[in-house]
């Protein structure tokens, strides 16, 4: 889409920035990448009252223009790079009206870059509740910029904001906040002269941040370094002096524009909640109760829609077989593509429910309390309170969670979090676990409320968390960190979750999953179908020839004959040959060559396991009556012993394998992207495979 004006949204975290972004752009948004970095770029479009289209870029939330993490570093580089395709024409700074002081620091920094600015004063309703009285007109006059009071949650004032955007100046008219020339004036002057920059604050920022800015040439960066040495510039001292000057400006600004109640307010709403939620005892009880509820909900709420989706695909498969003439094309469509598609779609209920929970926990402010409660514990094992969010996010998918580790400033803490996050039970393992648990664990209730299958699943989740913590603790001694970690974090006030955001996140994540993982899964399903339907040389012809002799046709019913033929064909197909090849290696784990096929095909994505099972057993089973993969696996018998294939030992051995093995191409790719070094994904892949084999072997040996 072509836009007439480009607007960047800038603001502190927890100010309602993404709510405003969603309100302004609706579903009309997409996620891309900033060139050269891995930070997500959220872009949306909105129509202004004058009919022009505005492109809105949602920049990561930050407290200051000085970045503390990779995500935050994008803010300054987008605002400062004048020759980039993303350079905004206008910045909308969103300020939390109930917490103006700290919010204004970022405003004053951005304003001094002399980019046209519009201020959106959000949470006016909250400020009113707290008896904070803001003289908006005087405030706007003192800043020299348009100030629009809004309440993004209630969608109030957004029309006025759009108006302000359409009438915004092309030039920056805001008042200076501080005199930049009191901080390192000679250096600022020198950089300005040599790089041809007339804004002193921009020049100062280049001195601070030149090492990480992509738009400077190496020569320019080296020259700035030389100039810094020449003028003995101390970045941290300069930053401290600047921050003090800025707060002096802010105090002066707020002095006659904002009236707050003089007397200390009584205990706030948030404090009362915190007394319970971060209580020594109840805090943890509630946290584990929430986790438990989450998994039970994922298991039970999703079962009905999942069944429905599964049945729908079985019906489609069935009717395709009935209506289309039999042949390889029909088989490819029904047993290859539709079977694969079903394996993707069936995930949606679980992913949607999980992301609903995660987005509620984040939205309400509870997630940062979890961080607060867990920091000490996490630090002991080499992690960081902030690792809790990626680890919990890992329950959904390791890929976004590993991207989420960028909020961890400390290199070592971040690396360890990346290394162990894939151990957490992600949603791709869920269908494998639910299928295998349903096969071997009875569907009884214990103590009325707890379903045995639900408990087994909870057990797998808890186990994965424990193994992640143990592995993290081991990595703590292996990895050597240089910088020191710190934990300075805002605890936002509790709020009701925004249901629009919850629904949006459910939709967004499910869509991303279907389109990203779905492509891989369908491709693999097709390859798999080919592997399972064709064999090397003339093996298939020989099977047909063998079974057409009277010895077989006379002594067997047509039904059992066709099953025997299919089974013989699968065993001699390319997939069967591959499965047989690896069978000696996986035999000690209790796996046969059919499971071997599934291990190979789910190498790129765990969720393919169920699809593979569906394909293998559908090729193997009778063609007239389609059964769900569950029923087929339940009926599967070992041809030598006549015993069921999926015993308790085999099922748990398989679950252990999937709990540890790095069976996910996307995670390998994302770890490479985040660490920019092949060493890390290689180490991760190796340690996880070794653990998988060992855990599987132990489980099978103990339960057999």
């Amino acid at each position: 889409m072509k836009a007439d004006i480009r607007v960047a949204l800038v603001g502190n975290p927890n100010t309602g920035k993404s709510t405003l972004f969603n309100v302004l752009t609706g579903l009309n948004q997409k996620i891309g990448n900033f060139p050269g970095v891995t930070v997500d770029k959220k872009v949306g479009y909105t129509t202004l009252p004058d009919g022009r289209t505005a492109e809105i870029i949602d920049l990561p939330g930050t407290y200051s223009i000085y970045p503390k993490s990779q995500d935050e570093s994008i803010v300054f580089s987008v605002l400062a790079d004048k020759h980039n395709a993303h350079t905004p024409d206008l910045v909308v700074i969103i300020l939390d009206a109930s917490n103006l002081k700290r919010n204004l620091l970022l405003y004053s920094q951005v304003a001094d870059l002399k980019i046209p600015v519009v201020v959106a004063l959000n949470m006016m309703d909250m400020a009113k509740k707290a008896d904070i009285d803001i003289d908006v007109n005087l405030f706007a006059k003192k800043l020299g910029v348009p100030v629009v009071p809004i309440s993004a949650r209630k969608n109030e004032g957004t029309a006025a904001l759009k108006n302000a955007i359409s009438f915004a100046n092309k030039f920056a008219f805001q008042e200076d906040s501080i005199d930049v020339n009191t901080i390192a004036p000679e250096l600022v002057e020198a950089i300005g002269r040599e790089l041809n920059i007339d804004n002193p604050y921009l020049a100062l920022q280049l001195a601070h941040q030149h090492e990480t800015l992509k738009f400077l040439t190496p020569e320019q960066s080296d020259r700035i370094e030389e100039l810094e040495k020449e003028h003995s510039f101390n970045s941290q001292k300069a930053q401290g002096a600047e921050t003090i000057a800025r707060y002096a400006f802010i105090n002066d600004l707020l002095y006659d524009t904002v009236k707050k109640p003089v007397t200390a307010q009584g205990e706030t709403h948030s404090n009362k909640i915190d007394k319970i939620l971060t209580h020594k005892f109840f805090g943890f009880v509630i946290f584990f109760a929430i986790l438990m509820f989450m998994f039970q909900a994922i298991f039970s709420w999703s079962s009905y829609p999942m069944e429905l989706i599964g049945d729908a695909f079985v019906w489609i498969q069935d009717s395709l077989h009935h209506t289309l003439p039999p042949g390889p094309l029909t088989s490819l469509l029904a047993d290859g593509i539709i079977a694969g598609l079903s394996g993707v779609m069936v995930f949606i209920p679980q992913i949607a429910i999980l992301f609903a929970f995660i987005s509620i926990l984040e939205d309400t402010g509870y997630m940062s309390r979890v961080t607060f409660m867990m920091d000490k514990l996490m630090r002991k094992v080499g992690l960081n309170g902030k690792s809790v969010v990626p680890l919990i996010g890992g329950f959904a998918c390791a890929v976004p969670s590993i991207m989420g580790t960028r909020t961890i400033e400390n290199w070592k803490d971040r690396m360890i979090t990346i290394m162990v996050t894939p151990l957490v039970t992600c949603s791709a393992r869920l269908p494998i676990y639910t299928l295998l648990i349903a096969l071997v664990v009875p569907n009884h209730n214990v103590w009325w409320v707890f379903n045995m299958q639900g408990l087994a699943l909870t057990g797998m989740y808890v186990f994965s968390l424990i193994s992640a913590i143990v592995v993290a603790w081991v990595f703590k001694f292996i990895l050597k960190g240089k910088e020191r970690g710190y934990f300075i974090m805002e605890l936002p006030v509790y709020r009701m979750p925004r249901w629009n955001n919850v629904i949006f996140s459910m939709y967004d994540r499910s869509k991303a999953f279907v389109f990203q993982a779905g492509k891989v899964i369908i491709a693999i399903s097709i390859i798999l179908w080919v592997l399972a339907s064709y064999g090397p040389g003339d093996r298939f012809a020989k099977i047909d020839q063998k079974f057409s002799t009277s010895q077989y046709t006379q002594h067997m019913t047509p039904d059992s004959l066709s099953r025997t033929i299919s089974s013989a064909k699968l065993e001699n197909s390319y997939a069967g040959v591959l499965g047989h090849t690896i069978e000696p290696v996986i035999r000690p784990l209790g796996f046969d060559w059919k499971i071997g096929i599934a291990l190979i095909t789910s190498f790129a994505a765990r969720e393919v396991f169920v699809g593979t099972m569906a394909t293998i057993y559908s090729v193997n089973g009778s063609a007239e009556k389609m059964q769900s993969v569950y029923e087929k696996m339940k009926e599967a018998k070992n041809p030598d012993t006549g015993q069921p294939v999926f015993t308790l030992a085999v099922a748990f051995s398989l679950m252990m394998f999937y709990a540890f093995a790095m069976q996910c191409a996307s995670t390998v790719a994302i770890v490479f992207r985040e660490t920019k070094n092949w060493r890390w994904p290689a180490i991760q892949f190796a340690y996880m495979t070794v653990l998988a084999y060992a855990a599987s072997f132990i489980a099978y040996t103990l339960l057999r």
């Binding site: 200051s64 404090n271 005892f281 934990f487």
Partner: protein, 71 residues
Amino acid sequence: MRLSQLEVGETGIVKEFTDLEMSVKLMEMGCLPGEEVRIERIAPLGDPIAINVAGYQLSLRKREAYTIVLQ
């Protein structure tokens, strides 16, 4: 007196910092000399702590609170 030595509910006024790197981060978050701080609560496991500063709640580790000298 250091911030880490205050009990829950006690207040103090920030005087200076003993650590330059930490001070830059704390000041950005509104915790700067002359500002009043109050200990709101301590995490269940004894660390980190939550303080009230500049009208909102900030959590930091005890080791970090130790770098804040009070008046």
